[in-house]
Symmetry: C2
Subunit: 275 residues, 2 copies
């Protein structure tokens, strides 16, 4: 594992790493915020949206202030492997590089490397807990847009590994939105039954352990109705009697300005379960 | 003036504008944060460093939270005109586009358009005060690196227009550092006497009205000794009996992670004089 660079931030450290991933059979990059203090800190995993690398959230969310205050570490990983020279790897922003959807692909040309589910749910937390002074028994997971989908989906499928889940403007039902359907078909194939294990609305009907969930959604989000479909998740939560704190904010859009405006609430929410 | 886009942020608005500038004879871009509330707000002018546009600070500083809290508007302008097809306009990051040094150039090919001093000190504040619900009698100025130089220099030369000045890791003596000397020579010519009106250390010996000044500097800033030269400014302040609050921070570098870590202190500092 290689430390690419680091910056002091609110008396802690923002660090950028690269390592060879077993899951994706490729180099992968992530950022880590380490709060001040030598004690073992709990950790939040942040999953970013389409097109993002490990840098966008780290630079734009303003989260470091709150991580330092609440004494929580935070890992933000790149959204896919990069520079693999796969066909159409960078042809559109909705498939391939930057658009891994946090699934284990089964279809060519993606099946070998696009295994972001295994990477985020298993390999990365094991690496972080073993390499850093971080308490892997106190983990939370959160994300934005495609990463909100990833956080909800991975959290619901692995409740023993996390204490809390939150999301900003998540893609709530990827198997039901035409835009994410195209990616699911490319990664997982035409049999839509296999899609359900990566679909938050479908998973809600199956989960036994109910982690606390907080979701923030901008009312003026340009992707809300056609892509994110929060109404489907609200309905699924109601139907399955799963309590989700769902907050809608007039005037806010899909950008990091929206994320930054409410990031402290998310840290405070997770801190209730992690600290 | 054209509104390019806007984003709700901490109950206020981040807005990006473009307009045709009289001073630079070109389109210019800036961002404006408008805090919540319908009253006339005081305003801070932010001057960015080399290579930056109006976006870097707006996206990375985390300032909006504090502007909303202290009820202060903030304008961040691009660092030069762009896309003028001048010779060597984009050949290096230390001259031309993104590197205007906030001077009025007198040498070709820069003399017609590179008039950032007039733009920042005069045209832009007049535009902002006339077009927006902003109190132009309560202005502060601040910036980072090349923009810290700009803020100190413009503030010292126009004390009647501002109430307070602050800077992060400013270029303190551009006429004495080889890197900024190259730019000053290109913009202002070989007669170094003309450089002095744009040099903070030189200006300190002349000012009558003493605005309050706060400066933060990272001890591990990679540009500190050879380029920024804070020691020269400390010595000039001492010699001229000008009280500057100069704070040095172990471990911090030149990045926006450093700026973000101390931005609240700067807003609180300016608020004492603006609110």
């Amino acid at each position: 594992m290689k430390l690419r660079n680091r910056h002091k931030s609110f008396d802690g450290w923002v660090e950028f790493y690269e390592h060879d991933s077993r899951a994706t059979q490729s180099p992968m990059r992530f950022s880590l915020y380490r709060p001040p203090g030598s004690e073992k800190h709990p950790v939040l995993y942040w999953l970013s949206g389409l097109t993002c690398t490990e840098e966008n959230f780290t630079q734009k969310s303003g989260i470091q202030r709150y991580l330092a205050k609440y004494k929580i570490a935070c890992v933000a990983m790149d959204t896919t492997p990069r520079n693999l020279n796969l066909p159409n790897e960078t042809a559109t922003w909705e498939l391939g590089a930057g658009a891994g959807y946090y699934v284990n692909a089964t279809q060519e040309p993606w099946a070998k490397h696009y295994r972001m589910y295994d990477y985020v749910a298993h390999e990365l937390p094991e690496l972080i807990s073993s390499e850093f002074n971080i308490d892997g028994s106190r983990q939370g997971i959160f994300g934005h847009s495609m990463g909100g989908h990833g956080a909800l989906m991975i959290g619901l499928r692995n409740p023993e590994n996390y204490r809390s889940i939150s999301a900003f403007a998540p893609i709530c039902a990827p198997s039901q939105s035409p835009r994410s359907q195209r990616a699911f078909q490319a990664y997982l194939g035409a049999d839509t039954r296999t899609w359900q294990e990566y679909d938050t609305c479908a998973l809600l009907a199956q989960v036994q352990t109910r982690l606390p969930i907080l979701i923030d959604q901008g009312e003026d989000d340009e992707f809300k109705d056609a892509f994110l479909q929060p109404g489907l998740l609200k309905a699924a939560a109601f139907k399955n009697d799963y309590p989700i704190e769902f907050r809608f904010h007039p005037g806010y859009d899909h950008s990091y300005y929206f994320v930054a405006s409410f990031i402290e609430n998310h840290i405070a929410f997770h801190a209730r379960f992690l600290s």
